[in-house]
């Protein structure tokens, strides 16, 4: 982790991203749109069981977040260990707050 992050002076050597073709971007973009369409369709169709729809939406949301973070925010690329650690830390603490609010404040 340390060797990837430090020293602004030799940054030119470090930031040698391999050029990604547009194909991958298009694939990810289409995937994002499809995930969104599934979510909308599940609700718009009307016939879907409400509990199932909620779970489906949450699962779609998780995939969506992974795609957005990984590809558009470059978390899948090298040299992003610290952003990933901080992202996970944020998710963890936000998750703690949500669990607290659900179990201790609303459902108690």
């Amino acid at each position: 982790m340390a060797t990837e992050q430090h020293s602004p002076s030799d940054g030119a050597v470090k930031h040698r991203h391999r050029q990604e073709g547009p194909q991958r971007h298009i694939v990810v973009f289409v995937l994002s749109v499809v995930l969104t369409l599934i979510a909308f369709a599940a609700v718009a169709a009307g016939g879907v069981n409400a509990t199932f729809a909620v779970i489906l939406l949450l699962v779609m949301a998780v995939f969506q977040v992974i795609l957005q973070m990984g590809f558009w925010m470059h978390l899948k690329d090298k040299g992003h260990l610290l952003p990933i650690i901080f992202m996970l830390g944020g998710f963890f603490i936000a998750g703690t707050c949500i669990v607290m609010a659900l179990y201790w404040v609303w459902w108690d």
Binding site: H6, G90, I93, A101, W104
Partner: protein
């Protein structure tokens, strides 16, 4: 605008012919983006609020000097305890922490400034205006009076009808913005701006502690931001998040407050740990014992710090399972903290210890903080906590960790880095007087409060009946508070006398400096390092000294240095938020004056404030400021 001198040295042909505006006097301080000057601004502003909080403490102790005292009435007393806690934590010690972080971190990592100098300035001014707004409550209809924790329902509009708590929510919101900005800035600085060779595990311990502190700020402050927004909405816009009658839940506030509030106490103490870890090795002439375990312990404390908030709420009825879990997680924190205590002791063991004034504070810190830690473990036990809760035992505990721990650490840091910040050594003799009066006064004040609490004296009561065995101990406590006040006055005298001496401190005034800040002049030049140093190990300067070198090996040739431009925009943005806060706070008031009511009730004042802020942001976005350069010719003094 002050007169703009053209460039520093117009005679030689400059390769990057940017002209640079040079401000002087007050304008220089308002527009500066230099981390060393912002550090001094933080120090003076924090010192001012610290003084206000200290006066409030003295008034509280005078009221409690004898039973049935009538020096203050109950309402004033409530306002004083609320403002004492809020001011000390948010506006007193946090800015002084930021002062030291600003003054020292870029120097210790071999950087020329922080990652975002503009944000650094913005962070300071939002903090200052938030603090001013909060303290204006004293002359604008009464200070907040619901305790520094502002528990609902006491802090709701129903039970706290004046604008006091509005000053609390809006003031802390604005000041908190500054803290969040500062935290993010230091994270970016430490991750990206370390000198070549300074890997994470070669960073000085103070940098590590500040790094972890900034991470906690990043994760904890959003919680208080949300909490304050909810409370503001309840109070000003008639929402019902905490209103039981409309389906809200007042305990939700306690959860949100302590999800922020417990990490906040680690935000306070970790920088002190870092300072102690710098001072003790320097004056023991030994490297810090167990450096990697110190790093690990700091990270562990930060992680556990988020897992213990409900120990403030044992008595709210969370149930035995939750209480047991939070008891255990709280007690766990004693493990990494204990590692630290032993590491400091082992650092001193066998070292050539010199008891200079910073080292006195550092050594005094260890037993004092440990006592606060021991009462912390006692409080962590849920059944015992039902007895201790809301008594002076709790007051004694948190003053031991915050005053005996953090403030001792800050004193150590201020005495230690004063020559680096100002170029003048503080008087050692007065420094030692400060230490002894302060620490004796401290223990007199707070040691007896453990027993007051165990005997049943409740906190936050404005007076007590005679003949409950409280009389003598309260008198002792007040005398101790006076002695601490004397210690503070000696410190101020020391600063005043020192400021009248010539600025002649050596680069390495303590003689045993281990880290990079001691390799450059005191105070450092605007650009800190003429050449970025090459770091060859932990305690980079000490390593060069032991290799027989007198200076660092440079990692780059002398070249033009890029500098950020001074700007007034952060100041204007903060003024805008300040005005908007006032406008929002008084938006429901009837002023008995058609113009005022029109301006406030239609949110026009808020709009004007936000216009200033967003207008400044627009200017910042549209106007490309490329900064300016200091040329090698100027660096060489030619």
């Amino acid at each position: 605008m002050a007169q703009a001198a053209q460039s520093l040295n117009p005679s030689p042909p400059l390769r990057h012919g940017h002209s640079v505006k040079r401000h002087t006097g007050l304008m220089d301080w308002i527009t500066t983006v230099d981390h060393k000057k912002i550090a001094i601004l933080y120090l003076w502003a924090g010192g001012l609020f610290f003084g206000i909080g200290g006066l409030e403490a003295i008034l509280i102790r005078i009221q409690l000097i004898k039973p049935m005292n009538t020096f203050l009435d109950a309402q004033t007393f409530n306002e004083l305890i609320t403002m004492h806690g809020t001011t000390m934590i948010f506006l007193g010690v946090m800015p002084v922490i930021f002062a030291l972080m600003n003054a020292v971190i870029p120097l210790q990592i071999g950087a020329r400034d922080v990652a975002f100098p503009f944000l650094n300035s913005l962070g300071f001014w939002t903090f200052l205006f938030g603090g001013i707004l909060l303290n204006l409550s004293w002359i604008m209809g009464g200070a907040p009076d619901a305790g520094w924790t502002a528990y609902t329902p006491l802090s709701t509009i129903q039970y706290s009808g004046t604008h006091g708590v509005d000053f609390y929510t809006i003031g802390l919101q604005i000041a908190g913005l500054g803290t969040l900005i500062g935290g993010i800035n230091f994270l970016a600085t430490i991750i990206t701006m370390r000198a070549p060779g300074m890997s994470f595990m070669r960073m000085p311990m103070f940098v590590w502690a500040s790094f972890i502190t900034s991470a906690i700020i990043l994760f904890a402050f959003p919680a208080i931001t949300v909490g304050l927004v909810l409370l503001t909405f309840d109070r000003i816009l008639g929402a019902n998040f905490f209103e039981t009658s409309s389906g809200g839940n007042p305990v939700l506030w306690q959860h949100i407050f302590w999800i922020f509030g417990h990490p906040e106490v680690y935000i306070l103490i970790l920088p002190a740990f870092g300072i102690i870890s710098e001072v003790i090795p320097t004056f023991a002439r030994k490297r810090l014992f167990g450096y990697s375990s110190m790093v690990f312990a700091t990270i562990l404390i930060a992680f556990l710090g988020f897992m213990v908030w409900a120990h403030h709420m044992f008595t709210t009825g969370l149930g035995p399972v939750a209480n047991a879990l939070f008891s255990v997680s709280t007690m766990l924190i004693a493990v990494p903290t204990g590692i630290k205590i032993f590491n400091w002791l082992f650092t001193m063991w066998g070292g050539q210890v010199r008891f200079t004034s910073p080292n006195l504070f550092a050594v005094g810190f260890i037993p004092t903080f440990t006592m606060g830690g021991v009462t912390g473990v006692m409080l962590a036990s849920a059944p015992a906590d039902f007895q201790f809760h809301d008594t002076y035992f709790v007051v004694a505990h948190f003053h031991y960790v915050i005053v005996g721990g953090l403030v001792s650490g800050l004193f150590a840091g201020l005495h230690y880095w004063w020559p680096k910040m100002f170029g003048r050594m503080l008087s050692e003799r007065l420094g030692k007087w400060t230490f002894w009066t302060f620490i004796i006064g401290f223990h007199l004040t707070f040691f007896v409060q453990h027993f007051l609490g165990l005997m049943g004296m409740q906190r936050r009561v404005f007076t007590y009946l005679p003949n409950q065995q409280f009389d003598l101990l309260n008198l002792v406590s007040t005398i101790g508070a006076g002695l601490m006040g004397v210690g503070m006055l000696i410190f101020l005298t020391n600063i005043f006398l020192t400021s009248r001496k010539p600025a002649d401190a050596a680069d390495d005034p303590w003689g045993d400096g281990r880290t990079l800040e001691w390799t450059i002049s005191s105070p450092p030049p605007e650009y800190n390092f003429k050449q970025t140093p090459l770091v060859r190990g932990l305690d980079a300067f000490w390593k060069e000294k032991t290799s027989g070198h007198t200076a660092m090996t440079p990692a780059e040739p002398v070249g033009p240095i890029h500098m950020p431009s001074a700007t007034i925009l952060p100041f204007l943005m903060s003024v805008g938020i300040f005005i908007a806060g006032f406008g929002f706070m008084f938006s429901r008031d009837d002023f008995g004056n058609a113009f005022m009511s029109f301006m406030f009730n239609n949110y026009l004042v808020t709009a004007i404030g936000l216009l200033i802020t967003f207008g400044s942001m627009l200017v910042r976005s549209l106007y490309d400021d490329h900064g300016w350069h200091i040329e090698p010719e100027e660096l060489e003094g030619r």
